[in-house]
Subunit: 212 residues, 2 copies
């Protein structure tokens, strides 16, 4: 498999972590979002949405949208599961993942920030305030929905909510959000970063990350 | 079951259509998003994210996030399925649904438009341009991913991609997006609106819609 990925993309981070947790081997193909690789004709032929991640299977099938890719991996490589089997518990974990995936990430996307700058002359400080606003609002809701007494978000093994949360916390730290009000979210991040499969998916450990 | 819903909310529209397709009875509890009902203490106790839809099951369990609710309904009321059984086809349908659910809707949410006005003094025209920009970009990608020769998005029965698409087209018409470039998207909407279960979920037919 080939994973089209950008080191700092939190949606790529989610999928890298799921692949690693399931022990699925893949080659990383870096897509430089800041340089505009995602708008090249070649990449748009692969993914008309012009985003990462995109996973190309052995038979050439192209999968897009991080949560659809994780759902596919769960069907084909069920161990460990990214969502629980019980329907009500599954809905709970999925809803927690979607707080990040719907309510935070899309509004803070690189292309959204680009439009804020182009249309409203947003300054770097205004862009940062914008991002932190949505992260603070989403994290406040997420904090109340995580299990209070488990190691990971909803149990003792990582799943979809853990991956979405940890990737978003990476971004929150990058943009200076105060994480003090979110002890459960910080607990989830710490548990994930201590897990070798998730740690290996961290942005700084990707082939396209700049040398430190 | 009780569905907390707002007539014009496209995420509520998706869930209403799924409930109707599956023949699941529910009572609608209107939440006036324009009036700010979603920020009341009572509603935040129900859904800390302060959004609709929220589905309260018979045993009092509260489900949030439209796609998590539809996923739950699919597990408990499998007929008709909102996603196909084959994993690769399922990933394709889910990715198409997520173009709307991730790349369009969250960026055009009422609260995002509110922040554009509050932070950047966006005019009504600028807000409309913003919404149409994301719809045009998302629809251009979606148009290429729908099946070209089926009645609904990916076959002859409606599923998750149909519901997300049709609800978003309602919003696109409301804001005056030119739909000429998207014949397959228009075909999906026409097929859905001709289906009684989906037609009954249309905003104009909800108890909280203003009298026409």
């Amino acid at each position: 498999m080939k994973l089209y990925s950008y080191w700092r993309s939190t949606t790529s981070y989610r999928v890298r972590a799921a692949l690693n947790l399931k022990g699925v081997a893949y080659d990383t193909v870096p897509v430089d979002l800041v340089g505009g690789d995602q708008r090249s004709a070649d990449f748009l032929a692969l993914n008309p949405s012009g985003g990462v991640p995109a996973l190309v299977l052995e038979d050439g099938t192209v999968l897009t949208q991080s949560l659809a890719i994780i759902d596919y991996l769960d069907a084909n490589y069920p161990d460990p599961p990214m969502l629980p089997g019980d329907a009500a518990q599954r809905a709970r974990v999925l809803a927690a993942a979607l707080i990040t995936a719907m309510d935070i990430h899309p509004v803070n996307n690189l292309k959204v920030i680009g439009q804020l700058k182009a249309r409203f002359s947003a300054t770097p400080e205004q862009a940062q305030d914008w991002m932190c606003h949505w992260m603070a609002e989403g994290f406040a809701a997420l904090e109340q929905q995580l299990d209070p007494d488990t190691e990971f978000a909803f149990g003792d093994t990582p799943g979809m909510a853990d991956l979405c949360t940890t990737a978003q916390v990476y971004n929150a730290r990058r943009w200076g959000l105060d994480l003090t009000p979110y002890p459960h979210i910080r607990r989830v991040e710490a548990a994930c970063l201590a897990h070798p499969a998730i740690a290996a998916a961290h942005p700084d450990r990707q082939p396209d990350a700049p040398p430190t």
